[in-house]
């Protein structure tokens, strides 16, 4: 059981994380059946508070909440009171007054979810759905779930699995959450990026760092490609999209060097032709669609545990 909030992958002990994955697996089996819906969170109100556009994450949380029979309110900053200058505090207090039980927050400011949880602005459980360049813990959970599903279905954790995370580590909340969670579950991580896209201080992280994709590609079980934002080019993090793609993109040549059972992951949305070629994205090794599917199950598990749903057995 987890309690309170889910703000960072660091909030979870190894045992809690594994339990969440087990719950997600059970929920996935139930929702694979003809009746996808469970009554466990009936009467609970979950607010999707999205200050940044993210259709994928929002509909994933929305689907998860609805499958558990919660009421879902989608609040997006665009065209709302926020665009008229309302502060996060006032928005939070408004949601509190409306009786939100959980707030799923996506915000451009690192730490926004933590602030929501630490202040007295709102009493609801807070789930971080991505805060600035900090973390995205449910993405890490769904990635762990997907890796386990494909590479370690029978075992306890992810011991010995070699994961490459490739791309813009500096600005990536997906990378930060994955590093925390996957290392906790026993995986061995290597980050591959140009030095401009690695944070100063990366040497303190429990990972290996490489600037050379080609020397690492054949040694991994998982290659996780990160989305590259095109505005990084304007800031001279790398000279051109073509050069980035040549040095750090997953193309057919690199795909062919992957180990036989290795899998290709991407948190989406993809820039096909930039960090990942169409052939790689659509290859049999690609589990990108599974990631999306598993996202719903993992988010159901998180909502279920945070909002104290009735034991799973009762809902069957």
């Amino acid at each position: 059981m987890i309690s309170g909030h889910l703000l960072s992958a660091a909030d979870l002990s190894k045992e809690q994380a594994l339990n969440l994955l087990a719950t997600a697996k059970e929920l996935a089996q139930i929702t694979d059946g003809p009746n996808k819906k469970l009554p466990t969170l009936r009467g609970k109100t979950i607010v999707n508070l999205f200050f940044e556009d993210s259709t994928r994450t929002r509909i994933s949380f929305e689907t998860a909440a609805k499958r558990l029979s919660a009421d879902v309110i989608n609040f997006s900053a665009k065209g709302s009171s926020v665009s008229k200058g309302e502060s996060l505090k006032d928005t939070a207090q408004t949601l509190q007054a409306m009786g939100a039980d959980a707030v799923v927050i996506r915000h451009g400011s690192s730490g926004a979810a933590k602030r929501l949880a630490d202040t007295q602005w709102i009493q609801a459980a807070v789930i971080n759905a991505g805060d600035g360049t900090h973390e995205h813990p449910t993405q890490a959970l769904l990635d762990a779930f997907t890796i386990k599903q494909h590479l370690r279905p029978g075992s306890k954790d992810l011991s010995g699995i070699k994961v490459l995370i490739v791309g813009d580590i500096l600005h990536s909340r997906v990378a930060r959450s994955n590093i925390l969670l996957l290392t906790k579950l026993g995986a061995e991580l290597t980050l591959v990026a140009p030095p401009t896209l690695l944070p100063v201080g990366v040497s303190d992280w429990p990972v290996k760092v490489s600037y050379d994709f080609d020397s690492e590609i054949s040694k991994c079980d998982v290659v996780m490609m990160l989305r590259i934002q095109l505005e990084r080019m304007a800031d001279s993090f790398f000279p051109s999209a073509q050069e980035y793609s040549r040095r750090y993109g997953l193309n057919s040549a690199r795909l062919s060097k992957l180990a036989k059972n290795a899998i290709v992951m991407h948190p989406g949305p993809m820039n096909r032709g930039l960090e990942i070629s169409a052939e790689s994205a659509d290859d049999l090794k690609s589990v990108i669609i599974d990631q999306v599917k598993n996202g719903v199950a993992v988010r159901m598990a998180v909502l279920y545990e945070l909002l104290g749903g009735a034991p799973l057995g009762d809902s069957k």
């Binding site: 730490g111 630490d118 805060d131 930060r176 201080g201 992280w205």
Partner: protein, 429 residues
């Protein structure tokens, strides 16, 4: 006439002091005799009033955060008899008119000297020199010029400013921050920023400007003051410059002597400040630099902000901390309790030296007959818990809230007038 008996001075002497009008009329070895209505200072210390060269008073323009009056109250409560208001008001203090307004408001408040600092460039835009001469000639007699809050980043403008103020022995106080290396910077760049995903403000962005400006100051033989040094590397550069005989002085804030960047971990904007909190290694280097005299003075960088500018998420929050009322206590905690400095050193770094750098002749003087009676009586042994709500500043953004700190300010005499009595501001008519 005010008599203070049995007061211990920073050098350890125990004296009786008599104040007559605006001056100290007599200082003698404590006679041990009772004098009617005298302030018995047994066990307390009498020091010259503290002098701050870096204070944001927010008036004109942001009176919801602070005014010259509320800032003066905060200063008096903290033991300051002189403060220096930074130029980043609205309108900017870049003309004689604005600095004279601030100067007059300070006189009207009557709780401490309020000496305006003038902007180096018009509107702090970094492009054209402001009316430096007019401000120097005004009744405010401005001698320190600074674009603080922003760096004078154009090397040519910085060179011209350094040269120009030589006319009247002025000084340029530089906020050392290379702007291109700190676009959207939020906190110290290092291990903590990497982990918590806030954009880094690297030490090098401060050091690069310090290095450039000490070389400029040497080249044009002018006086340079470095505001709020925060990095170990900065201390090394200033040590090098002083060894070469370059006319550079430097300040450190109390918060940079005590707090480190790991406090940012919870994203509480109370710790959001520019320049940012650095690492423990930097803190230790700053303490050593101050003890050694490489860093000449302590300056508060008192930066008031209204509640809503801190009661929000990190990125929306304003940079800055209030500091006038905690400065003395934090310096005692970090420098005296650690035995890095003596009380005489503290008086030097917080009163004598800042007054000398700025040319404040009524301040930072020896406690002796015929000197201006700018004095504070403190209880070095007392401790107090910082309660933000009890601060006299209009703003409550202190990072020391809840902390137990040493030393309280009991009485403050400003030009012979008692403005703080028994830890309370005296009602001024």
């Amino acid at each position: 006439m005010i008599n203070i008996i049995n007061a211990k001075l920073a050098n350890g002497d125990v004296v009786d002091v008599q104040i007559n009008g605006e001056l100290i009329s007599k200082v003698s070895t404590a006679a041990g005799t009772k004098i009617k209505k005298a302030i018995d200072a047994t066990g307390k210390m009498l020091l010259p009033g503290l002098v701050d060269l870096h204070t944001h008073l927010r008036e004109p323009g942001q009176e919801d955060a602070e005014t010259v009056l509320t800032g003066s109250k905060s200063a008096a409560a903290g033991g300051f008899t002189a403060i220096s208001s930074m130029a980043n008001t609205n309108p900017v203090a870049d003309t004689a008119g604005v600095v004279e307004q601030i100067y007059r408001l300070g006189k009207a408040a009557g709780l401490c000297d309020v000496n305006p600092i003038g902007a180096v460039t018009k509107g702090l835009d970094g492009e054209k020199l402001s009316e430096i001469g007019a401000m120097a000639d005004s009744i405010a007699k401005v001698r320190i010029f600074s674009d603080d809050g922003k760096c004078v980043s154009d090397p040519l403008i910085m060179r011209r400013a350094l040269e120009y103020v030589k006319t009247f022995n002025g000084i340029i106080a530089q906020h050392a921050q290379e702007p291109r290396l700190t676009v959207d910077a939020q906190m110290n760049e290092g291990s903590v920023s990497a982990r918590i995903g806030l954009k880094g403000w690297p030490a090098i962005a401060e050091e690069a400007i310090i290095a450039r400006d000490i070389l400029l100051a040497e080249h044009v033989q002018s006086r340079l003051h470095i505001c709020h040094v925060t990095t170990a590397g900065g201390v090394d550069l200033i040590r090098w410059a002083k060894a070469r005989g370059i006319q550079v002085t430097a300040e450190v804030t109390p918060h940079h002597l005590l707090l480190t960047d790991d406090l940012v971990e919870n994203y509480d904007p109370i710790y959001k400040v520019n320049p940012p909190l650095r690492t423990q290694k930097d803190v230790m280097a700053l303490r050593e630099g101050l003890a050694e005299g490489i860093i000449d003075i302590v300056a508060t960088d008192h930066a008031p902000h209204p509640t809503e500018d801190k009661d929000c998420e990190w990125h929306s929050a304003a940079f800055g901390m209030v500091g006038l009322e905690t400065a003395l206590s934090v310096v005692v905690k970090t420098m005296i309790e650690s035995k890095l400095m003596s009380w005489s050193d503290l008086v030097n770094r917080m009163s004598i030296k800042p007054a000398k750098i700025a040319g404040y002749q009524q301040q930072g003087q020896e406690i002796a007959a015929n000197q201006p009676a700018n004095l504070i009586l403190i209880d070095p042994a007392a401790t107090w818990q910082v309660n933000p709500k009890s601060l006299h500043s209009k703003s409550k953004n202190t990072p020391f809230g809840g902390m137990e700190l040493p030393t309280t300010v009991i009485d403050v005499f400003y030009n012979g007038k008692q403005v703080v009595a028994n830890r309370k501001l005296v009602d001024q008519e």
